[in-house]
Symmetry: C2
């Protein structure tokens, strides 16, 4: 099976790495900036060919568009100048509907890896859930074959549910990271660092996931409606209005849950 | 060494369990509700004596008040009816100053275990950082002896810095849990569950801590100022105003960081 991955970002790089190291599929990376893609591929010693999009393999078994959400449509149009409109093609975005490929496209779908990727941090694809969407039977089989070869967990998921997962992931991942960033900002001000909180953070996450229902294990001043402590904490943050606002508004939301 | 732990909540229970299982110290639990404390101690097969506060050992080497913040002062006054004002005594609160014991108290301090405790979930105290505060040399030695016997990590920390750690812990622990609760609420609405996001959450936390500076690894729509995706997500949450507000306000704070 020949796969063309379009993109040179963290998702494209991680997919290329995973596919070339755990399957026998041939991978070609097609990028708007092939030199950048080539540097990354060389750095990771990937066994891939890197080309410009308008030079990509015309007869691949699957095209995976792994670019930022807003570039998907443009990249797709660029691809269509080179390949047949009948070619099997997917994107990897959580919040983009499959409709981005237009109403008449037939062999189109989604291969959404639910993970936060960084370019310089390779993640084992077997640890990641993949959410697939496709109408066409041939494309369905192609996608299943790929994720099975990768030994990844996978499931079918339509565009609406995928959007729910993506919104949930923003809370669970992006916003969680931001909470840790706020904690670190407070600690650094006192010559301390987020590493001090490592056992606490790990226990929090373990407990939340094991509970199957994180709100049932909510703790802290807001959970107890401990207005005295909330007041002391807001006083402590009085010279940092952004942190103080955030502290107040999240505490308020937690209290409302337990009214 | 004889230790009296005052309290029957999660902190008291975890301390009693840790001290009785890893040291040779004698532990007595003194509680406002001794029957409740006794049931918990029996459930955990703790080798402790459980008594009412006004019946506690008068000659212990250390008294640890492990009750909710707002009850510390009252419990302390109750203890003083029974024990000498010269007895070595500490509380376990992150956000309460050592001044809660009054200006004239001499043998007073703080033993703050930085962890989120649940009554029915025993945590290995060796994994937890303890922050200590004391002026008196004898009390200092007593506290060091205890944490060293527990094989715990520990450090001295004054009341002001301990407050910083506690505020940071609210962000890193209580607010993080609430972000996971919001994610779960969104997922459950689609027949899914927080467990789907486990690999994503674990990678997020690992990456944030390893980076030593979580804001440097911030990702997501707000980080990219991807207003299109933010709009779609807010649309998706339009019937759940609390979630939508929270999504909007945290996204805005993240965007401001990268302006």
């Amino acid at each position: 099976m020949k796969i063309v991955i379009v993109g040179s970002g963290a998702v494209a790089t991680n997919l290329a790495y995973g596919i070339t190291t755990t399957t026998r599929y041939q991978v070609e990376i097609a990028a708007r900036n092939p030199q950048k893609a080539k540097d990354i591929a060389d750095g990771l010693e990937l066994k891939v060919k890197v080309v410009a999009i308008n030079k990509c393999d015309k007869n691949a078994d699957l095209y995976i568009i792994a670019v930022t959400d807003k570039a998907i449509e443009e990249v797709y149009k660029e691809l269509l100048k080179r390949i047949s409109p009948e070619a099997p093609i997917v994107h990897t975005s959580g919040s983009t509907s499959v409709d981005v490929f237009g109403e008449n496209a037939r062999m189109v779908g989604v291969l959404y890896p639910l993970q936060t990727f960084s370019r310089n941090r390779i993640i084992d694809l077997r640890e990641i859930p993949f959410y697939l969407e496709a109408e066409d039977e041939h494309l369905k089989r192609t996608l299943i074959k790929l994720v099975e070869e990768l030994e990844a967990n996978w499931d079918w998921l339509d565009s609406e549910k995928r959007k729910a997962i993506h919104v949930a992931a923003v809370f669970a991942c992006n916003f969680t990271n931001f909470m840790l960033a706020c904690a670190n900002e407070i600690l650094e001000h006192e010559g301390l660092n987020i590493a001090e909180l490592k056992p606490l953070i790990e226990e929090t996450v373990t407990k939340a996931i094991e509970s199957d229902n994180p709100i049932s294990v909510q703790t802290g001043p807001a959970r107890r409606s401990d207005n005295r402590t909330i007041f002391l904490h807001e006083q402590y943050l009085k010279n940092r209005p952004d942190l103080k606002d955030l502290y107040a508004s999240i505490s308020q939301k937690i209290m409302r849950k337990f009214e």
